[in-house]
Chain length 363, copies 2
């Protein structure tokens, strides 16, 4: 080893979900939206004054902030944005979790929480979900687990399960001394948002993304709501090392998407309808399917073919799907290695998927 | 103070250069390019398949990497990219400077170096430039200043001065045990690049940006060249906490810009010609002007009006310019508070600027 190599930061590189790119594949593996973004997004992109690219973007993202403020009825100073919700969440970890006390999140949840904790040297406790993959809310009470912060994805991923706003509020109520982050990446598909609670709890940060419900994963836009003081703290940290983040096109197209509420609601409704339909179909084929409020299903195959060694047989099904160019997600991790995570595609894609499953089971 | 507020990270928020936005101003304060980006950039933007925004961007940025590889004749595995060179530099600090030994950079240089060092808790030594604002290369020899890394902006900012490639190589030669970052944000305006040296020194990282010479500040694209092992280390760290950075439009337009070499060279030549012309004009008006190899001039007013209290009189000139909607940059910092940093605009803008100066001096 050369001397300079000793200074390299040691990391466990994350393996992103496969991003195969060829025609005729059915891509149900990274929770992307099967429908295009609002037509207003294309319009906004075509209307961009390319010559203005020579200038730095508006670092305050005024156009985007104003659109979000209008649509969600939240004051502008209560809105933060970043390059995808990953950037927003990472910035929130860096900004708020500096007490030295452990932060709390579930053992099964979005896989980056422990990564950011590691990156910023924040101690954490991963609290087990119960046997039905539900949060045990008392575990999060600060009197039971004194903490430096709480992070909850609601609906949760990859389980797809949502808890009620009352349930989440109870956790917030029991954590008034640390910042509580509620990651609502999937909330638009039927979850109950705690957004109204930011007026009541000044330590609540609600994080959202354009990547799922707004069909804009390719543009990398995330945002967050919280009381003005939380947002100021986030911006202070952000500006302290990088003032310019979202580029011109992201600001303009993000604003256009936010303002097209009709298209947004229509798309979400379509995905919810498809989800419910194929949840029933999977159940009829004997699958154990969690009650999803997201744009994906978390489903475990059951029956003769699977019951002897369910983890191994599930993995085989995953591989068999892949051979047919149907990509879903399989997590080779304790407790969830008997499940497939299936993003909701178009009805046509889902029909091809379910037909394959039918055949696979019956052969 | 509430309990949760005690967990907030303490920072000194950075104040970005003013971004006034109104018509008829002359904006020479943030080193933006006065010319629009290549027409190919507009084309690329118009050709984007908006529907594909529903998918995550290509996290490897293949299109952009291939374009840079072709244009700069560097293997693809030797190229890294990020959201502006700020993101690239910050990631390099995080990746390479983990020995606990101080890193070295000049006392007068890009103002974010000490900020990132602070953010990542990297000790540093800021070594004084000499009286003529030149690097004292022996100060950077590892035998004189044992270090965990070296960061040099060449040409330097805000001084505008470039050192030769041989001069920089001598510093690299004396630092084979730590990573040496050469920040070439301004190199396209007449500096000598050390890019060819990445084959010779496996610890050399050369950082560039699309914000200045490629007129694409609004798109936030930075990149770096180094041996494949350095680049792999950067990507490992990047992927370990955020796999998706540049959005679709940045990848596509960046590639288009890189491939239009003719337009790029023409624009750089125009800016260099304007710079030389107005450097002479400022000198004729008695200014002390450093020898710029960048798209800005670092100039100190001299003469009866200024000589009694040059720092104060320079600041007054800065304010007087601002009143006329001519924005330049003034740094209220020791050693450089007698200078203005003037971005090179179009000849028309520079003419308005110089006419104002003439009048100001002679009144």
């Amino acid at each position: 080893m050369k001397e300079w190599q000793k200074g390299i930061r040691e990391v466990i590189p994350y393996t992103p979900g496969e991003q195969p790119r060829f025609d005729k594949m059915i891509k149900l593996n990274t929770n992307e939206n099967p429908y295009p973004p609002s037509p207003k997004v294309g319009e906004a992109l075509r209307n961009i004054d390319v010559d203005k690219q020579r200038l730095y973007p508006d670092f305050a993202g005024t156009e985007l902030i104003e659109a979000l403020s209008k649509v969600y009825d939240v004051p502008k100073e209560c809105i933060f944005f970043g390059i995808g919700s990953d950037d927003v969440l990472s910035m929130a970890f860096l900004t708020f979790f500096n007490t030295g006390k452990p932060i709390l999140f579930p053992d099964i949840t979005y896989s980056f929480y422990d990564v950011w904790a590691g990156l910023y040297k924040i101690p954490f406790k991963a609290l087990p979900l119960d046997e039905d993959f539900r949060l045990v809310k008392e575990d999060y009470y600060s009197e039971k687990n004194p903490n430096g912060g709480v992070v909850i994805a609601n609906p949760n991923a990859p389980t797809s399960i949502a808890e009620s706003a009352d349930f989440i509020e109870d956790i917030i109520k029991h954590n008034q001394d640390s910042v509580v982050i509620v990651d609502e990446a999937y909330v638009d598909f039927g979850g109950e948002s705690v957004l109204p609670l930011i007026k009541k709890y000044d330590n609540l940060l609600v994080v959202r993304t354009f990547s799922k419900s707004r069909s804009m994963a390719g543009m990398r836009i995330g945002y967050a709501f919280g009381n003005a003081e939380l947002i100021k703290a986030l911006n202070d940290v952000k500006y302290s090392f990088n003032s310019y983040t979202l580029n011109m096109t992201a600001i303009a197209t993000g604003a256009a998407s936010a303002l097209d509420e009709e298209y947004f609601e229509k798309t979400c409704r379509k995905i919810i309808a498809t989800r419910e339909e194929y949840k029933e179909k999977l159940k009829k084929l004997g699958f154990y399917v969690l009650d999803s409020k997201t744009n994906f299903l978390f489903a475990s195959p059951r029956g003769a073919k699977f019951d002897s060694n369910r983890a191994e047989e599930t993995r085989k099904l995953f591989e068999a799907l892949k051979k047919e160019n149907i990509f879903v997600r399989y997590f080779n991790k304790p407790r969830i290695n008997e499940f497939l995570r299936i993003t909701i595609g178009t009805p046509e894609q889902m029909e091809t998927f379910i037909k394959f499953i039918e055949n696979y089971i019956n052969v």
